[in-house]
Amino acid sequence: MEFLEVIRVSRSFGPVNALKEVSFSVNRGELFGLIGPDGAGKTTLFRIIASLFLPDEGKILVKGYNVVKDYKQVRRITGYMPGRFSLYHDLTVEENLSFYATVFGTTLKDSAAYIHRVYSPLKPFRKRLAGKLSGGMKQKLALSCALIHRPEFLLLDEPTTGVDAVSRKEFWEMLEELRNMGVTILVSTPYMDEAGQCDRVALIDHGKLLQTGSPAEIVHNFSAKLYAIRGRNLYALLGRLRMSPEVKYAFMFGREIHLVFYRVPGRPARWLENLSGSPQGTFSIEPLDPGMEDCFVELMGENHPVDGKENI
């Protein structure tokens, strides 16, 4: 059953088309990830879903409620956590929570059990000012605040941005638990490696939805053959690779280069030696199973064929 339906939503700000006919749907009880780089239109879309922006075209239904006409109902069942953790820095942890509790017509006590899992790590710091918390703690507090009125639907805009790796991992575990409690969750992130944590993801770039599906499906749909190059001084090599007519695109991925050919040469290792002019063994090239980021780069290249190659 579809809990959230986004139907051909477009929105522009002046000359900028922030969203172009975006459509997807989220099932009840699903942990759905919206994945894309900064400026892809994630925040705009979230604000439209949260009924804070109006779409120029298209329609969004949350549990059957139209976010434009029935915004009051939508707001009641939605827990929204904006990109900047919307906390009052000059109030303590506890004061923030109880303020949001009062404003949403509940109390800290009534929701204690519900938010326990998220809030309990913060309890020792409940007298601390929110502005003095670490990124990870701010994130948990903001999530607690978004959960305070026990919403059926959680809308989390880049909750893991600016948060350390350990806190990020914990955070995803919490989301999983919330999903298991029956909460439908839509979460956005610029980090591809977090896609695997979601039941399904949608990839978005420049306001266009590139692909929707489970992480496995998306990786499975990766059409081309991917190679990884390892070795020293890869940056110099990257320039040469990009000049080469056989190479569709190449990009740095951590400490290796990921590469897709237009037409795979007969002996890739030999081809690479010729291209780089370096002796055998300087670089290694091997076929590789694509990850989410490779898929994203591929899809982004299709979305923007001209600048795709240079920007990667």
Binding site: A50, L52, Y80, F85, S86, L87, V103, F104, G105, A146
Partner: protein, 368 residues
């Protein structure tokens, strides 16, 4: 209601946690009153003068004594020749030299009479003007008395009495003026900045999606500042009264009621500003420039409205403080009742309503 109270409580926490806010709220009014009351004054006190007396007769000595015993002047030195004047002024301490010509007492009895020369240091034009006026008044006064003692059968005396401010104290003007300025400034500035802060920190997004109604958000912002501004108004009146002796002749209740109306107006202006400003800085800038300078310059607080060019006079009619100053002066100094000030009160009320409606119209349940 519980939501609303929770919101108000949160606002109070913001205010009490931020020492800068507290300083602006309570430090500035006191500092302003003290500054205006003590430093910026139109009255003369202990002005240093020099005397160049070519006659040295009984009359010139008498006049000199009169001038010095007035309390406004101190004799810095007596000069022997006109050549010394320049030097004395250059030193800068002496602001005026009184020059008596030779044979003063004798010539006084004959036509065409005598001249006294008053030479002032006009590098500070205002002071020079005041000094000269005060001195000539003292001399005139002396001559009047002397003449009436002697001969003339018919004389006309202009009996002057200054109503409502018998000793022409500047503080009487400044206290209402400062009250008008500070209340509008603090109320408008504080509310607009605190709403802009919610926008800047992204908390407004959550407030908007919360079940709080726009009216609750607006009133929740207004209430704490209303309370604090009333405290401010009272403390300004008290300070004026206790430290500078500015009386409250009229009804205190009416004075407070009008002040509350005025504060409310200022708060609605603040809310209106915040619907325009996206950041705290913008809000602060707008409040200061829209409110502060026009208030000081155009409200009649310092410069009389009657002397302004017509266009500025019309412009000043748009300034809320202008009307408020008229009202509180009228109540504080003339003991007038509502009967005399209803027009101004009505204007203030109308302005509040206008800004309130405009704020509600502009306040969005969404981010744009």
């Amino acid at each position: 209601m519980k939501r609303f109270l929770g919101f108000v409580w949160k606002e109070f926490l913001h205010i009490f946690r931020d020492y800068r806010t507290m300083l602006i709220l309570f430090g500035i009014p006191v500092a302003q009153i003290m500054l205006f009351g003590y430093v910026i004054t139109n009255e003369l006190k202990d002005i240093r003068i020099a005397v160049l007396d070519h006659s040295k007769d009984e009359v010139t000595r008498e006049i000199t004594r009169k001038i010095l015993s007035s309390g406004f002047f101190i004799l810095d030195r007596t000069l022997d020749s006109a050549g010394q004047m320049e030097e004395v002024f250059r030193e800068g301490k002496v602001k005026e030299v009184v020059v008596f010509p030779p044979g003063f007492a004798e010539n006084m009895q004959r036509l065409p009479g005598v001249d006294i020369q008053l030479i002032a240091d006009a590098s500070d034009a205002n002071t020079a003007q005041l000094v000269v006026n005060y001195t000539s008044a003292i001399i005139q006064n002396y001559l009047q008395n002397r003449i009436s003692e002697t001969s003339l059968p018919v004389k006309v005396n202009a009996g002057v009495r200054m109503f409502y401010n018998p000793s022409l104290k500047g503080v009487y003007m400044f206290v209402p003026g400062i009250m008008a300025m500070i209340l509008v400034l603090i109320s408008a500035l504080m509310t607009s900045v605190s709403i802009a802060r919610e926008k800047e920190f992204g908390t407004m997004e959550v407030l908007l999606v919360s079940p709080l109604r726009p009216s609750q958000i607006i009133l929740g912002k207004v209430t704490p500042y209303m309370a604090l501004s009333v405290i401010n108004a009272v403390s300004i009146i008290l300070l004026g009264n206790l430290v500078f002796g500015v009386p409250v002749q009229g009804s205190t209740v009416l004075l407070l009621a009008v002040s509350i109306l005025y504060i409310f107006l200022a708060l609605t202006i603040g809310i209106f500003i915040s619907t325009l400003a996206r950041t705290q800085q913008m809000a602060m800038f707008m409040s200061l420039f829209i409110m502060m300078l026009p208030t000081i310059l155009l409200s009649g607080f310092i410069f009389p409205i009657e002397n302004m060019p017509k266009i500025l006079q019309w412009f000043s009619a748009l300034m809320p403080p202008r009307w408020f100053i008229v009202v509180i002066k009228s109540i504080m100094l003339k003991a007038n009742g509502l009967l005399y000030v209803w027009k101004e009160v009505l204007i203030l009320a109308g302005m509040s309503l206008l800004f309130l409606v405009m704020s509600f119209v502009r306040f969005r349940v969404r981010l744009e």
